[in-house]
Symmetry: C2
Subunit: 315 residues, 2 copies
């Protein structure tokens, strides 16, 4: 008897958000859950058409689509989606230079993170799951200062000037992409009066009905201070959405209950649980700590990716 042939095309996740909104952290966390050898993480910054020096000379920001090879990004996503390799350009953040491209073979999962990945219809059509990150403003600023000073050779003053300089283009090009996301994820400090460590930020998920979200009724019937909440609401644009909040102070036991629910909904992915390292984040003191809200965000996205992979598999 002949074997049934299994064909599949990659599952493509998009993570869009302004500079320093946590795209890379979310992408690498999800890649770890799925298994890094099955995932390609592609950053759209590689498609900048100008290097840092040229941008400063012409007074433009990397947020402006005109100075990004959007048509080539579309082409490369289409090729990867069709299971073909690409020769990907490389933008080196450390020095702000465009360098030697790299060969990227197709993998089972592809995570595309960047500023402009939902800018055109052709881009949006490539994604199975679309995330938009919008952390609270002061949180994002502190993340940007910390990262750009540590990893990209900027001073704090330079980062603050740059944040100012980018505001106009962010409003014009980045924020309008929010409307195309299936899930908007917002990390925030639950008590702006107090400083809080990375493990205790809360998160709000705005779940649009553009994806079949998991049934969360089993965890709905809980007391008031359970550490999470699911509410029917209107989004900022007036459209009906579900809002799933996970509080920064959720206790381990309750977090575990929600985790167990999500894992039980994707039995196909049980083997991932061992190496998942859910919610792992590096804090201000360079220590690895666990954030329950991040863990549950990662799991929710993983749920959708695993379901999308099943949809792509033709037996």
């Amino acid at each position: 008897m002949p074997h049934n042939r299994t064909l599949s095309r990659p599952v493509i996740l998009g993570i869009v958000g302004d500079s320093a909104s946590g795209k890379t952290t979310l992408a690498s966390g999800i890649a770890t859950i799925l298994g890094t050898d099955r995932v390609t993480v592609l950053c759209t910054d590689d498609y900048h058409s100008l290097n840092r020096t040229e941008r400063f000379k012409t007074g433009v920001t990397p947020l402006d689509p005109t100075y990004n090879f959007i048509d080539i990004l579309e082409q490369h996503l289409r090729l990867l989606r069709d299971g073909l390799p690409i020769l990907k350009p490389v933008y080196e953040h450390r020095h702000g230079t465009l360098t030697r491209p790299v060969y990227v073979p197709p993998t089972e999962y592809i995570i595309v993170e960047g500023l402009l990945a939902y800018h055109t219809r052709a881009l949006r059509d490539c994604f199975d799951v679309k995330i938009f990150l919008e952390p609270g403003d002061s949180l994002r600023c502190s993340w940007k200062i910390r990262r750009d000073c540590a990893e990209r050779g900027y001073t704090q003053e330079q980062v603050e000037t740059e944040l100012q300089r980018r505001q106009h283009d962010a409003g014009l090009y980045i924020h309008p992409q929010r409307t195309f996301a299936d899930i908007v994820i917002r990390f925030f400090n639950p008590d702006p009066e107090k400083e809080v460590d990375a493990a205790h930020l809360s998160v709000r998920h705005t779940l649009r009905p553009t994806l079949p979200h998991p049934d969360m009724t089993p965890i709905l019937d809980v007391g008031g201070r359970a550490g999470y909440r699911l509410q029917l609401a209107r989004d900022v644009d007036g459209k009906p959405v579900d809002i799933l909040d996970i509080m920064g102070d959720i206790d381990d036991r309750r977090a575990r209950t929600v985790e167990d629910l999500f894992w039980s909904l994707i039995p196909e992915a049980h083997h991932m649980r061992d190496h998942a390292q859910l919610g792992r984040v590096i804090d201000e003191r360079n220590q690895a700590i666990i954030s329950h809200p991040l863990a549950l965000s990662q799991l929710l996205v993983t749920y959708h990716l695993v379901k999308a992979a099943l949809g792509h598999t033709v037996v």
Copy 2:
């Protein structure tokens, strides 16, 4: 009454041959005839996967397909053929480095010159016209020494070592591609006893019946020492071919007769004659001189490109 819409896809010319066989000279001459703004010249050396240092470290030559992104070259030629832009890698010969890629929009004509452009069936299928260059061996060596010392920072001794080192791979990967060419072009010194300048080299065209070559009977009925000759012959592989020789000492009047014949066969291209700069070549003393044999080779290839363009135009 509605206008007829004119659609066309680019015409793609291939020029393959060993290192320093005259590919770039032929390509740029033909680009000048067609009009440089309508032509993209693409060199397959840009698809090397290793830079010069890495090649020396691993002891491989750039002639080995394993160390070239052949699948990406196939992809890029398919994209250009379909009228789409590419982000082309760049190999800098001066320093032997792989650098920032460049955006290449599609143009009416594309000339692909390089070592391995006929290596796979998928590559060969992209071309409208396929040329293979095989100048006499001693001629090619002197061309290579002159160029690599002047433009690529090698010493004469280094070039001679490199020629030796490449011989094995040239036999394995370059020469076998000859069989796929529509026209084999061989420049040679008509009298090996004497040095001859670039303007007075002779050229032999081996014309395979894989393309409908122009009718040259009008110039056949000439005396023995006319400066050119058309003969029926067997190729080195035993297959029937036409051999068109143009002698280095052909006089201006006779060269003009053949030129007029070629131009008369492509009335669509009469506007090109003004800027054609036929046969222009830079000699050993850096002077621009005219080679009638080169001029007629360029015209023969142009004839085929113009005819191919007509074939692509749908009115």
